[in-house]
Amino acid sequence: MKPIEKYNPAVLFLYFLLLASIAMFATNPVMVGIAFAAMNLTAVSYTRDGLGRAYLFFFVIFILTSLANPIFSHNGVTVLLVVNDNPITLEAVLYGVMTGIMILSVLLLFRVFGTLMTSDRLLYIFGRAFPKLGLLLSMTLRFVPLFGRQRRKIENTQRTLGLYKNENAIDNIKGKLSVLSAMTTWGLENGIVTADSMSARGYGIKRTRTSFSMFRFERSDAVMLTLIIISCGFIFLGIAMDRLKTDFYPRMQLPPFSLYAIMCYVIYAGLAFLPLAAKIRDRIIQRKVFGQE
């Protein structure tokens, strides 16, 4: 096993997609619990920057989703209290809490996804399927920082020319708008050089352009892909055959613990902890090869 980010982006993409889908659609507290534990640890080990702030936001989402369900869903038999003739049931609260945890896990998962699926990886996937769209995305990514820099340059120049005359809000907005306008002109007029540069290198002479990427599909990618497909297939089969379903209404039941279900839990845990395991393994190996810090 190699560090997770070294895998082919398509494998990574599929991995995250399936992991999230299972968490979202299994409706199984054990699965959600596994995803929650795994994604918290993974997020901490992969995306430490700004995680605290993210957690604050996630907590708000959690509270909102957990509250929303019992307010709108009046199924369930164990009535806790009655508000405006509407019963608030224990089952709805529990379901809400599970949904909240599920959403939290998925949000964390997408946070990790966002860190690992850098723009060039996502571009590789888009580009393979849609070469022209891939090109548009790549061009946009190239232009965004260029525009950002130009905006700062224009602002600086205009400040010395007295654009922001008085420091009040209206002048400020007016100034910002004329900077936006200047940027538009700049981009459109100079973009023609970019367009010419594209034509000069044969853009559009062939209807089907290739979309090149430095990423390769190695043997280890094939192994990982097979592994992911087989294990997720197994779990999805379980979902389809209602082997994993946990009913909350009318009365909450315990999640299933059949052999099949337990196998699913183990496999899912294996999948969900994969990035963390890869990271720990990599640490140990690095330490072996290069010595202590």
């Binding site: 929303a68 940027m183 538009t184």
Partner: protein, 228 residues
Amino acid sequence: MVVIGNSAIRKILRILIPFFAVPAAVLAGVYVFEDKMYAYVSLLITILSVVLFISGFERRETGSRRMVIVVVMTVLAVVGRFIPVIKPVAAITVIAGVYLGGESGFLVGAITAVISNFFWGQGPWTPFQMFSWGLIGLGAGIFGKYLKKNKPLLYAYGAISGVLFSVIMDVWTVLWNNEDFSYDAYLAAIASAAPMTVLYAISNIIFLILCFDTIGKKLDRIKTVYGI
């Protein structure tokens, strides 16, 4: 795909299938599928409709200059999303749609969603944003002739597209959060998102008032000078 001779019918179908049949299928899915399956189905269908549109774009030829202009407009929208509180994304998409046509409008909206989410966070909401903003741009392209001439209509379109965006995104919120698609929850979501919806609508109108003519003039100039 089935070959349809009449280009007008083909064109109508191309618009009808992804943008009317597909949402209808989402709603049908809501009733047909149990549990959370319709959340999945709606996500799937949203992705498919975006894919369908993009495939059309892939098959056509697009000149390098048009590509660059689409990119410039997209970058403006992406950079604009960093403006606090009021966001010009939809307004710029509308301008692109009106002046460059529906396809370019769609692309500006959809690509803005993908790229700006590199900064704002990718997630299952990305396809929905692509779809909503894309639709706003496409609509602006289809009604471009009228929107260009009739300012009140333009502002109305801006307001409607703000509401439309909110409504589509709320469908997703509800499907994702709740075990059921209930109208109560949906209405509640819409109600709780109402301040945002109003903000979207207002910022669309503000940015259309401020930018439509300025940017439009620049686009018109570019189109004539560089022959697009």
